[in-house]
Symmetry: C2
Subunit: 436 residues, 2 copies
């Protein structure tokens, strides 16, 4: 159970925020400390996260937006929240992109020196397919979007397959920072290649590991510039770059069957406990239901969903009646569109809601290390100053508070000027599993 102690932190945060605003000045009292201990003990001995996660990942599996599995996850989590004695549980509609992978991808390097070598690849999410004949072209390797732009302007990408091969910076202890430094080539690399006439794009997989497992993830086309795009495993990215060093011209052939279908109706799953004193102030805990299709979506983001759900379960177990409204939101479509987050924001703004705090868990289920905080520039500084005063209550559990991004979904609530919070688990092994 102990991995899921993090869910209590969300809950704690809800309590903390309440306490903070209600009292004349912050008190990190013994009473608070004992209450936190109660939450911890309950989560460590009586949490339901692992059972739920087992169902989401092993019974349902990968939950790509628009898929039957995503629909099953909506139904399952709705039923679970509905069994938890909440004031209201509902489905909030959103229109999601419906991208499908189709048949298994093929990729081969054709070299004069080495002959034909199979490369392990996987189509990037949202990518167009190649059609049944595939694409073939000479490979041009680049290490950045800037380099691709420069080569493109010089006419050197026309008819070519552009190969984005920037690795993770292994000196980054925070692997999220290494991801941040490399992921731009996956998101905007293919469309940049397309703009200059490339016929296909290969992207080095986003991982710290050197292995033969390719990692998918979203790519975004701009201004109608679309070419088929795949991620190569890191081992085969190294194979290709070595071939390119030894030989002037190396070709790659690849074939993908993926396509974007008509958008589908899907849902955010939401449950709410009305606050007893200030129901108009909302504290939101969240994860996202959708995942990529090729794994089971345990770390991204089944873990985040069960964290948020267990906050409600543990409140029930402790018999706690919140002063403010607690809302558990399981967002749809974080991975390739954030349609759920936009629908939630739009609905919330129409109703003139105010989220005092919105917390997202979307960095996996490893050992809790703390929380990161973000917010609108008009209000962030004093709010964070206030929050940091509670840190001594959580330090005994090895947690830290930092400024930093919150989550892709909750960040849409920034204009409501509450505090945005991201749960921060250990990141060392996250990219061994991410999107794969």
């Amino acid at each position: 159970m102990y991995k899921f102690i993090l869910l209590t932190f969300s809950l704690l945060f809800a309590f903390g925020l309440s306490a903070q605003t209600d009292k004349a000045k912050p008190t990190n009292s013994d009473e608070d400390a004992f209450f936190i201990k109660d939450i911890y003990n309950k989560a460590l001995t009586d949490g339901r996260s692992y059972d739920w996660l087992m169902y989401l990942t092993k019974e349902i599996g990968g939950r790509l937006s628009g898929s039957p599995e995503a629909a099953a996850a909506v139904e399952y989590t709705y039923q679970m929240l509905d069994s938890m004695n909440m004031d209201k549980v509902w489905l909030q509609p959103c229109i999601v992109p419906h991208w499908i992978r189709g048949e298994k991808e093929q990729c081969r390097m054709i070299s004069q020196r080495m002959g034909t070598v199979d490369l392990t690849c996987i189509a990037l999410g949202n990518s167009i397919g190649t059609g049944p004949s595939g694409v073939s072209g000479e490979v041009v390797e680049v290490m950045s979007l800037d380099e691709a732009e420069a080569l493109g302007k010089a006419g050197k990408l026309k008819g070519k397959i552009v190969f984005y091969n920037r690795p993770f910076d292994q000196t980054q202890v925070n692997t999220m920072a290494a991801y941040g430094g490399a992921v731009g080539q996956r998101v905007y690399g293919p469309t940049t290649g397309a703009k200059y006439g490339a016929v296909g794009a290969l992207v080095r997989s986003m991982t710290n590991r050197t292995d033969d497992i390719p990692h998918t993830g979203s790519t975004v086309y701009k201004d109608g510039h679309e070419i088929p795009a795949v991620a190569l495993s890191t081992i085969d990215s190294d194979v290709l770059t070595e071939a390119l060093k030894a030989e002037k011209s190396v070709r790659v052939y690849f074939k993908t069957d993926c396509k974007m279908l008509e958008p589908k109706m899907s849902y955010n799953v939401i449950g709410e406990i009305k606050g007893s004193e200030k129901p108009e102030e909302i504290i939101l805990v969240s994860g996202h239901l959708d995942s990529w299709d090729i794994g089971t979506g345990a770390h991204d983001d089944g873990a985040g969903c069960v964290h948020a759900m267990d906050v409600i379960h543990i409140m029930n177990q402790l018999g706690y009646k919140p002063k403010r409204t607690i809302r558990c939101v399981l967002y749809m479509n974080e991975e390739n569109g954030t349609a759920g987050a936009k629908a939630y924001r739009d609905s919330s703004n129409v109703r003139k809601e105010y989220h005092l705090a919105a917390l997202e868990s979307d960095r996996g289920g490893f050992t809790p290390r703390g929380f990161t905080f973000d917010g609108h520039e008009d209000v962030f500084r004093p709010k964070f100053k206030q929050i940091i005063e509670w840190l001594p209550l959580l330090e005994p559990y090895g947690l830290d508070f930092k400024k930093g991004g919150s989550g892709a979904d909750v960040s849409y609530l920034k204009d409501q000027k509450g505090i945005l919070i991201g749960f921060l688990p250990d990141s060392q092994r996250y990219f061994d599993y991410h999107h794969t």
Copy 2:
């Protein structure tokens, strides 16, 4: 590579201590911070830990004291240290116990209600065997050594099989503390039972998990009170306790083939770089070579050995010449006797050595969380006060300094009145693997 950044902390510590003692007052200067960054970067991109660990665990495997595998580990690590441009590399002899497991254990519960049920068990290290006919007896369950003492004094253990079933306290976020709260029954439970006439001992496995994998570990007999002892898996411990609740009398039969043979000669493996200015002050980095036989000994304590070895490798890579003597010690026989640690201490005391700092890594290879510090009561307080001033240099890497135990081997050096240090990695999953 990033899991092994911890090795640099050892190195950093060596540097830190030097800096501290050499300067008029502590300075956490930019220069120090840059140097730490250099160490980190080198460890993250050019460490050798994983390759060495692969060899120790996959080529050699479990390394129980006195086994051929332990001898192979001595030879392998000697060769590795000897290739690293040290001033001196040597083998330090020690006489180790030679316990062997023999044939696979058998254990069965014989119940009137449930019939005969196989239980998954494993002999405890140092245990005597049952002989070919095994032992059989009614089971008496106890939750503590005190309870066993009380029942024993009342004559209720005579002819019985005593079953120590205290679980880990799951509310302990620090799993090492949960282990500390339960392990006494494994170490002294069997001998306590023997003292009062029990014929065998069962001990609940030392783990947070509920699974069917038994965990071994050392048991210690006192005053000649010896009975055969096995660990039961946590699932089968629960099966047995449920049977005992439903039925007055439940018997267990078990058979083990383990035995203690004649002691064997073995070795600590030691390498040294002489200090350029104060060679008489030794900074020791260490792990232990031996492991239990049933796994590959990766976390306990292959990781610790390669951490210590990589400190030397990285010093070489950085071209650093230490002012004080740096000694890498790979201890033998931590698991069931600490014969290597005693031999090292005796030799060191005869030579009137002084260990300014002695660091052991023996808590696994998970994400680094910090260090714990211990020392002789005459000197500890001011030393720790001095050390804590360096913490800001390491906080950017998510590390913390705490008072606490160092390591079973280096703690034998306490009387030299240096500082004793234990590396502290994340503990959440350690007892999933420990001794199994």
